[in-house]
Subunit: 137 residues, 6 copies
């Protein structure tokens, strides 16, 4: 009886998209307005889903409060009101696209789940653009 | 050509989380505010999804009106404006967590689908917490 | 230069609608399912709006964090995961309709605003039903 | 490292549901109000999801701007503010149910993706009814 | 103690914008895609708000069920799944813009309210375009 | 017959809150995380509402397409994917709080409306925080 429990969270941050191995011109061509050297920003909406067996004593796959706190400690405290390129070390050498941010979040959360629990991360960069990552296949 | 048709529905109800095999103290520790003996309540938002083949005569997997009525008869009429712990018999001995409510709804709906149709139930307990159940695996 | 700042908040609670001066039969006729003696419940979504002058030093009408904390202390801590009829004293003798809950919230918040600031409370009882109260006229 | 990128889009259109091989009476019985010969209409909300590998140079599965433009060219320009039955040739002989529209959209978009990229189409006919198509299985 | 009670409702319909006193060319120039002679359509989302005094016996400004039924009888039954230009008589000589539809809805509902109750109609033509009408001033 | 027409728009941007007449310490105390010198950012959702008389020839208060284009030219092109503090001149000497941004947007749009048309600007800084400005009183 595997069930998925999902929790929505939120953080906002500044970023820019940039490939340091490319010329300024090529960066501008590929990333357009997202390459702005002065940064722009987003309200990132995050949906974290954990799939696992129900604990027969609690009726929970995972306590939603525990999941909420885990997201706060691992993601919100690290990313909220930050400049991702400058202040979040992993993005020093990794372009902070929605795809890469989702993978980083998955990697931050997965070690804290129990064995056998699956993890999915959905990240909205804008209300109309979002990405989904379910882990390495 | 398998397609999924989904229908959103709504009911509101009171409940409390409680394990009768535990002490009052342990219930309070594990379930926190959700253990309130006077109950609290939610607007449950429900998304029911049926996956199957398209009927070539209608172009429907299932008539959305039929699905709407099925949800009303099986779920809304049984749960809406009710106290789940007291008035819905299955929860006399089953903790009404979102996970368990989703499984109960799945079990109520599945017998009414055609052979070969798959069922998924998504249940929002709050706008930020929801669960998904796709049946026994 | 009067501007309005608004903050969304959330609480969930159980309640029932009942007029103690009426017969059980009349209560059932008037309030229908909402009169269920075992209670039902809602996710109440709350929008609190404060209108006032901008402080030229901060550029704020009011610090959104201060408003968030005020709502938490005065409303969420008092109402969240509670049975309104049993556990919130003001509703011992006041029917907890959305209209009356909105007025109670307005009365709880208004004394904490500065002179000259106007207050509006919007309360969603369900995603399709909500009420608005702007204070006595 | 397969990631899914999703983009929401919108078009509005008129349509009616009708099976030309059936009598008027049977069409009315099966399709009800949706069979209205004078047409009715919807705001269709569309979510297109592409799953593939991340390009290590860009950090993108696919440039969201490219996906947005592809949806505009293939779907919005063809369907928006149109009468689907009369003005979109594929529906001359295909009943424009949400299921069939989703399949048509999938067929329009898939040839423009790279080999190895998977496509999913979600189409909301109303805020409460939607369908999902992931391609032939 | 005036409070506003609001109810959301929904209908979908086909329409076209057209001024019969203008040439086809001018209609096309002014109304663009909305002038399509084969019609297009929308999911109209409607918010009806009634402001009045609270009845001290019920705690209601107006029973939300009564308001829901009034909207169904006066608006949904008349407009839902209809072609506004052809099947709703008032639009035979009135261009069915969102503005005009909102005024028509206001005129349909107002006579059914009690003296002293104010009415506001908000009509979403798309998720991004909406109009508000509060009655003649 | 005054009616209000509203249009939703979107831009995203980086900003920081800072008062140059204050010490770094006081800025940190008052603005907290919003004072981050490396900037953070938001998806700003904007609702622009214009109230006026209906043109009897068109049935419009204002063509929604004209309003959409006006918002794009005056607001989106100036603010989207920008660093408000560095790249939008008006915020060189004005703290870019939601309140001040709303006033700036109102001042940008108002000169383009007709005499007698009223303007309201609602600006969401996050899904839970927003401000409203209706012009000088």
């Amino acid at each position: 009886m595997r069930v998925t429990i999902s929790r929505k969270a939120h953080f906002n941050a500044a970023h820019r998209l940039h490939n340091p191995h490319w010329s300024a011109e090529k960066n501008k061509t590929i990333f357009g307005k997202c390459n702005n050297p002065n940064f722009h920003g987003h309200n990132y909406e995050l949906i974290v889903s954990v799939t696992g067996d129900i604990d027969p004593d609690t009726g929970y796959v995972m306590d939603a409060k525990v999941l909420k706190d885990l997201i706060k400690e691992q993601v919100e405290d690290a990313f909220d009101h930050k400049n991702l390129n400058i202040e979040v070390p992993v993005f020093k050498n990794l372009n902070p696209t929605a795809e890469n941010i989702a993978i980083v979040i998955w990697d931050l959360l997965k070690p804290h789940l129990e064995t056998g629990q699956d993890l999915e991360v959905v990240l909205y960069e804008t209300p109309r653009n979002f990405v989904t990552y379910k882990g390495p296949s």
